[in-house]
Symmetry: C2
Subunit: 343 residues, 2 copies
């Protein structure tokens, strides 16, 4: 042994810090385990029984995603737990649009320098959001990558697997002329558009995180960091009456709604049919951002869109409001080339 | 529309570049689709039939991981395709140690600035490695995160789901005194220890990527970038005779081998029982790195360890050599507190 010798720690990688994080979040992770989980925290891979009673032809639905540069705002404010909710709920919604309920989730956290406290905070946030939707957090990884990440920055990635009865897969193929579009309120930006929002608010607008959002009781920090909303609980009971769901994420209405349409169906969305939250108005005015850009980069106050037969739409809106959501009929499907018009 | 207005592109996020990447890698991704895949490239989530003929009690095994700062070496050399092999094979090996064969894989690539060429190269590498092990690449995400990643740096994350018959789960619980340890050769560092290796070779040792590795025909760039080896094909036929497998990743022998042992079993590994490749010797001498640190940070030339009954060990080594691997009996299991001794 040489005192001058290099070690992993002098190279900027501290394995001990990851171990400390695991000890801190272990109980929270275990609290998400459903009876199908067959492994404990720390196994090479997570084990999950592939038995799905009551489902005749089970189909696994999987997705992977990150939270984008919302991590930068979290780092600026020093508040990380909500990011765990963000990534879990983002993933839950992504597979819900295919009709699936979540089975299990895995997280990946990487940074230039791992902090046990921050990792534990994020993973505990993931565990809270997983518990709320009966999803098991069965695996994860932390990586310390000096030189790859900018100082004090981190990325958070989640991967989810859910299950759906093959016959119940969404979207259905019968979306067409006359169907109505129901929009369900988002809780702010969710996890999309943060690079543009930060540029507009902080660089062009010169605002600070502690500034209020005009017309609200909220600071910018609070408004930006509200976690991504999960639509599983309110939508699950009405899924049999839904023809298709579009999760309004990167690409906004313009790119996401057409993904559930056939070649000859076009969505017409009436922009005045719901109240666009003040935060989006502020971003648009600070950044002098064109309307079309706003509807491509942001959810504009609608986190999930459901397409239903015209006769079902109002009942679904009523159910959603009953379930604690804010929801509106925001447009309809017409004949035309696949796409979306915001009118 | 204002000419001075911000757009996602002026904020440093180019959605068009991601679309170009998808067009470039789409065919490669489709070429990995097994008959169980029910979705196409670009769906919200990947769909995979949960029907496992021939398996009585299927258990899903899942894992998520990254390739660490091997990405930095790839970026220095400008050669990215191998990273796709790295992440797929790393994940394949991680679930193989529980006895599982891969079903499907998802990738996540994030960078300060997305390059369609680099993303396509990585995803095509993932597709090649997936095809080689009959694993479907059913989803992925690219994220452009200016300010989170250092300039020109990227991270690559993979998530895998496999399946195993519950009765065939590894490790078995009967690993004990007198069992032998078989080591299978790695192809270099695989995806672990890069921060320490770079510091030793480039900062302390003052070497360049084009320098030769002494005693070999290889440059440092080539030796460092050899992809992670998959052990699925050579090990699959002998898995019924294997009691436990340990994938030698972060934490090296010291941390990974004990993970498959009961409380009263200890691994004794004879360091002279296989040839430690020149690359590891060079890293150690350049960085003045202690032996123990080497065996904790690096695989030291052994990528996978199999524990077998003493009477099976030589036949398994013979099979592995027949299958094109290099393999040795490198130690044995003794009574003692759970752990590993390198002697």
């Amino acid at each position: 042994m040489s005192d001058q010798g290099l070690s992993y720690q002098t190279a900027g990688v501290d394995i001990g810090e990851s171990s400390r994080a695991i000890r801190a979040f272990k109980d929270a992770v275990r609290s998400t385990f459903t009876p199908s989980v067959l492994s404990d925290v720390g196994a090479f891979g997570g084990l999950f029984s592939a038995s799905f009673p009551g489902i005749r032809e089970p189909v696994l639905v999987s997705s992977i995603d990150g939270v984008g540069t919302k991590t930068k705002v979290a780092a600026m404010v020093g508040r990380f737990r909500g990011l765990g909710h963000d990534i879990v709920n983002h993933c839950v919604n992504d597979i819900l649009v295919q009709g699936a309920r979540p089975l299990f989730f895995l997280d990946y956290i990487a940074s230039s320098k791992i902090s046990a406290e921050i990792v534990a905070d994020i993973v505990e946030g993931c565990a809270e959001a997983c518990r709320a939707v009966d999803c098991a957090l069965i695996g994860g990884e932390t990586a310390e990558m000096p030189g790859v990440y900018a100082d004090k920055e981190l990325d958070l990635v989640g991967s989810i697997v859910g299950v759906v009865e093959k016959d119940s897969l969404l979207p259905r193929s019968d979306i067409g002329n006359g169907d109505l579009i129901v929009g369900i309120a988002s809780d702010g930006l969710h996890t999309n558009g943060f690079s543009l929002a930060r540029k507009a608010l902080f660089e062009v607008g010169g605002r600070n995180l502690n500034d209020p959002v005009p017309g609200t009781q909220s600071t910018l920090a609070d408004a930006l960091l509200v976690p991504h909303r999960s639509y599983l609980a309110p939508l699950w009971p009405v899924l049999p009456r839904v023809k298709g769901l579009a999760h309004i994420t990167g690409g906004g209405f313009v790119e996401n709604v057409p993904r559930i349409l056939g070649a000859e169906a076009r969505a017409v969305i009436e922009r005045n049919s719901w109240p666009v939250p003040e935060l989006f108005r502020l971003i648009q005015s600070d950044g002098y951002i064109a309307d079309e850009e706003m509807f491509t980069a942001f959810n504009m106050g609608i986190g999930m869109v459901a397409v239903t037969a015209s006769e079902d739409a109002q009942a679904i809106v009523d159910h959603l409001i009953e379930a604690g959501e804010r929801a509106w009929i925001i447009g309809e499907i017409t004949k035309g080339a696949r796409g979306a018009n915001i009118v």
